[in-house]
Amino acid sequence: MTSLALAWAFLRRRWGQALLSVVVGALGVAAVETVAIAERELPKAAERAFGGVDMVIGPKGSALDLVLCCVLHASDPRGLIPLKEGMDQARNPMVAAAAPIALGDSVRGRRIVGTTADILAVYHAHMAQGAIWTKPLQAVLGSDAARALGLKPGDSFVGTHGLAPGGEEHSKFPYTVTGILAPTGSALDRLVLTDIESVYLIHRDPDDAAETKAGRGGPTGFGPPAATAILTSFRSPVAMASLPRIIDATERFSAASPELETARLARAGRPVIMAVMGIGLLFAGIAAATAATALAAAMSGRARDLALLRALGAHPWEIAGIAAVEACLLAAGALALGLAAVAALGPWAATMLAERDGLLVTVAPSVQDMTLLAGGAAAAALAAAAAPALRAARASIETVLKA
């Protein structure tokens, strides 16, 4: 009979205590692994969500707000900029493409973004079905938006006022879908795009809007005066060094780099991440302490058995080995359960992040994580087993024989 079989038999005999150690350990493993995944995957997901957007031009204010609102579409707009002057800022040889965006409405939680066809160049996007709009109140859907809304070219829908669900319906101004974009992996996939004229048309005086809709007004006469922001992509990374500073120096505009703001956000969030990591490690530590206490109690209660094994000829180190194997079995159980929990809940978390924040995240433990966690679990197990193992190795055989 091997030490493994004996350790397993001993664990089975006090399964309640063993299960508690495994569950607490699994919580620690899951917490540590979740933080590791978040730290690794969220920046990548954010970068994917940016698409080709290198810089956002918006009103004076928080650059991070600008990125969250106009690139990740995860917060509300803070103000407007004059469209013409904003586009003038983007008119620079270092800018490869620029497109204004005007936010205000949504359809079943998906943002309707008024823009120009240049947005396809900014995001390096192309049509999968149909074609780009040619007049107001026509819409092109991002791939996720089309799937979620169940719309295809030729279908109609009505927007609601505001970005949150439950707003007033603009039932007099139905949109017609003219095309669907191919997936880009960016936030664009979740959006409903339309000509920027449409946004102003719907929010303008009802009579004027009717005029425009009837074709009697026209874009020149009703040129939209403002936009939420201008999205730009650069020809060269060199532009990042100078262009945002030039724009920030103006009185009315500020420029934000999604990449820099995400890095700044990550730095700002570092204490939180470390705190969560600390909690995870605390759980793991409590698990190790629980296992150590449980092992010590078990070894103490099993002093007779262990001394007996020595009486039967087992070497003290073999007795210590049984304690170590027991601890390693508990650690292996905690590791497996913790990683299984992450693997099971990962797809749900990934879906939630994609739905809510448009972040495409792969929530699965990596081989490197698993190796590190296995090493950590083994070290914790051996540390937990050390004292009980030594005590077991020194168990008195005399005590048994005299019992």
Partner: protein, 222 residues
């Protein structure tokens, strides 16, 4: 010493063994020579050092003086680890309370007897013991679910699994009624003789004394 117990070659030989308690010699073990198949009782009232003598003979507690030879090996000249191994391989122990490992089955208790001694249980030997001692039907039953009689037989089987040269039994009948005491002594006697081992029983139980070949009494040190 009783001359009738001297046989050759001996499984156990002792020379001038003095036993200590609190660093003071309190008892003397008569010189012994046990040959295979012999069953000897070590007698004496409670507190005369019978259990301490068994501990010394098993290589667990050092005697104050004297030599203990298992076969040709001087037990107390070995390192602790080698002494443990020798005990596991050459000496079978039967405890008063049987002391089985409760968490594992009957069969695994026997296997542990071999594994702890660094040996692999011989399947034929295992089967023979299970059948001889009438425990084959309960071989997969966990040890804490055995009756006292079953546990006794398992303890004897474990003591014999490694074909020991010497079996030491400490007060094996003290907690048993007459029928069970007789049964255990018959069982031990048969198993030891069939296995070619010598048996030393530490006891002050009259029933046990009637079942042995000879007896020697512990001597109080002067």
């Amino acid at each position: 010493m009783d001359a009738s117990i001297v046989r050759s070659p001996p499984s156990l030989r002792t020379e001038g063994v003095l036993l200590e308690r609190d660093r003071r010699v309190f008892a003397r073990l008569p010189d012994l020579e046990l040959t295979p198949g012999r069953i000897i009782a070590l007698t004496g009232r409670s507190g005369t050092g019978k259990t301490t003598a068994l501990l010394a003979l098993a290589g667990i507690r050092a005697p104050g003086e004297g030599r203990i030879l298992i076969g040709e090996t001087d037990l107390w000249s070995l390192s602790a680890a080698r002494r443990d191994r020798l005990r596991g391989q050459r000496i079978g122990l039967v405890f008063q309370s049987f002391h089985l490992i409760d968490a594992v089955s009957v069969e695994d208790n026997l296997r542990l007897g071999a594994a702890c001694a660094g040996l692999k249980a011989d399947p034929a030997r295992l089967q023979t013991l299970l059948e001889t001692l009438d425990i084959a039907a309960i071989r997969h039953r966990r040890a804490d679910r055995l009756s006292q009689g079953q546990a006794q037989r398992v303890a004897v089987a474990r003591a014999l699994i490694n074909r020991p040269a010497l079996v030491l039994a400490d007060e094996p009948t003290s907690a048993l009624d007459d029928d069970n005491a007789r049964a255990l002594l018959d069982l031990l006697g048969r198993a030891v003789r069939d296995g070619g081992a010598a048996l030393l029983i530490a006891t002050h139980d009259r029933r046990a004394l009637d079942a042995v070949d000879a007896s020697v009494a512990m001597e109080v040190a002067a």
